[in-house]
Symmetry: C2
Subunit: 404 residues, 2 copies
Amino acid sequence: MFKVNDNYLKLPGSYLFSTIAKKVNAFTAANPQAEIIRLGIGDVTQPIAPAVIEALHKAVDEQTTTEGFKGYAPDLGYAFLRETIAKNDYEAYGCDIAADEIFVSDGAKSDSANIQEIFSLDNKIAVCDPVYPVYVDSNVMAGRTGTYDPKSETWSDVIYMPCTAENNFCPELPKETPDIIYLCFPNNPTGEAITKEQLQVWVDYANKAGAVIIYDAAYKAYITEKDIPVSIYQCEGAKTCAIELCSFSKTAGFTGLRLAYTVIPKELKCGDVQLHALWARRHGTKYNGAPYIIQRAGEAVYSEAGKAQIAEQIAYYHKNASYIFNGLKEAGYTVAGGVNSPYVWLKTPEQMNSWEFFDYLLEKANVVGTPGSGFGPSGEGYFRLTAFGTYENTVKAIDRIKKL
Amino acid sequence: MFKVNDNYLKLPGSYLFSTIAKKVNAFTAANPQAEIIRLGIGDVTQPIAPAVIEALHKAVDEQTTTEGFKGYAPDLGYAFLRETIAKNDYEAYGCDIAADEIFVSDGAKSDSANIQEIFSLDNKIAVCDPVYPVYVDSNVMAGRTGTYDPKSETWSDVIYMPCTAENNFCPELPKETPDIIYLCFPNNPTGEAITKEQLQVWVDYANKAGAVIIYDAAYKAYITEKDIPVSIYQCEGAKTCAIELCSFSKTAGFTGLRLAYTVIPKELKCGDVQLHALWARRHGTKYNGAPYIIQRAGEAVYSEAGKAQIAEQIAYYHKNASYIFNGLKEAGYTVAGGVNSPYVWLKTPEQMNSWEFFDYLLEKANVVGTPGSGFGPSGEGYFRLTAFGTYENTVKAIDRIKKL
């Protein structure tokens, strides 16, 4: 008789955003007149930039002729896109990353969930707490996290690195040495960034400890301050210890188009085994590439017109973030993030826990946010609002909250 | 110090089609004047159908406004597509499959590689031999296959079910009881189909043995004969033992657009655990859906115009398959497949092994095919040619082979 992967059964409840969706659906069903404003899930709302639309139409038209038709893409992505990324996202920042160290994929979610697969099951992971739930959940599903304690909401074999107001949302080096360290900066959910100097400490630590850093830079397009690195490869020595995950989702509004890339430098090795070779093998065996037309869309993000249009979108979301940040501050909330990030992270008021505040906001202001505890135990007592709504809705939502 | 997933290191050599690509590149470099015809990798060549192109353009245009913009897709696929599939691919054939038992994804390759993840590591798999290499390789990477014997080119913990001329390319029930049975019909690589009566034997066996069948129906659009099932759910009892994988790649030329779906009936359980729930959890945690515009393209495949245009494409490839089949037969080869399939499977002549015949064909006729041994030990001495080229090239290639 076949048996299932028991690790799946250890996962408590459903994926955070599915739970939120269910709660919102139930509320809407009971209150059909309520005008809900969603500042919960980190999904963008601005239309796709004209330069990208143009590239999509052009690529679609190519598929109408035998000459222009594109079948299976190269396993690791089209050269035109990988070279454009290498030039614009690395060479331009003084990082020595070659086009063939870049793997194109359909999403940073997939990559951040799948990357653990190339590591041994007895490796120990360390995660920021709070953090994007996919890092821990994907390791749970693989069987790498030990047993779950429902009381503390933690796994026995995961090293949690609290990121709270007490340490300015920047984790301290862990006491126990991890094998795999997940870092996400600018951070989801806190919205706080890490300076180059602070990140260098992590790179040095990883190289010394023989750990690998999985660096999620999905929000790098929102960096506004000068001393914040856009890539971990701006730090000395990162190529021997770090994998970097990047996404077009938040940079160019590709949440519905699906495009991302992961960088694995060839120098990154365990003994004489390149992680690059393992990830290439995974791509070759278990994936068939992102659609050609989407890869052409990604290329257009880096065109002159594309860059200008996308800068405008980012500015639009930054304006939202400022409105949220300042509005909440005026209303007496303690807030973080919002400067190098589309996320504002607030302390829940009056000892409310995160889900209580979620319900309170949904009922009283018809605003949907994300409970901090959904991102890990140290997220309890916090709450995330995103700047990805329309400006009008953002203003309306914050003004409602201010009136509570 | 971090460690890698050792199972990856057990994989012998690289993925079959990467090896072929390297050999062809080397030959082309040495013989730049040679006009290579590729009937190797199963990639389509006909342009995308006009109805699909129209749907793509329309969906792209929707992304230009805030109202039309689509962000994250529903985890399991848009309802419009899942309902269209349920109606056209199941209801139309008398199969009781609900829209919410259909999971939309970016490819049957990904799905067939990832599906093993929801099962326990100590489950034993059975595969047809020869077979699409992804089934075995993905299980090797997970650590489910034991040790590799380079001499027999087999894994100690895999049950191989030979499909050769001796049994008309239809596997016999295995002596040892497997937990997971991979079946692919019409088969890749042999091009042979299974009758409904033969498939019913497998369904009854799986239900009795408590095994689950992973049924790869990627080539179902090529079925021409009446007693061949287009879905395993046409067999009585399949809903309690079978998962079905389907793809738009070969049906509608989507190899570069990337769209597929997997069916997991809710009745399919291990104890009281639904496999449906596990796969849903995997989608929710590790995947973010196929692009909206591609899902709209998939929907258009089922429109009246789409159906007619795609039937023409399939007829085009069938014409190629017949030319290959008949041409090789005339030239004295022993051939199979080609009737319910875009693949023709030939016996290599004069005791040549599969790779010897690959080199021979590449050098003497400048034709690229796929060595049968790349699909498993019982594929040795066979060779696969695909009907996915242009008609002109197909004729040219076969005529060259006939002249050898």
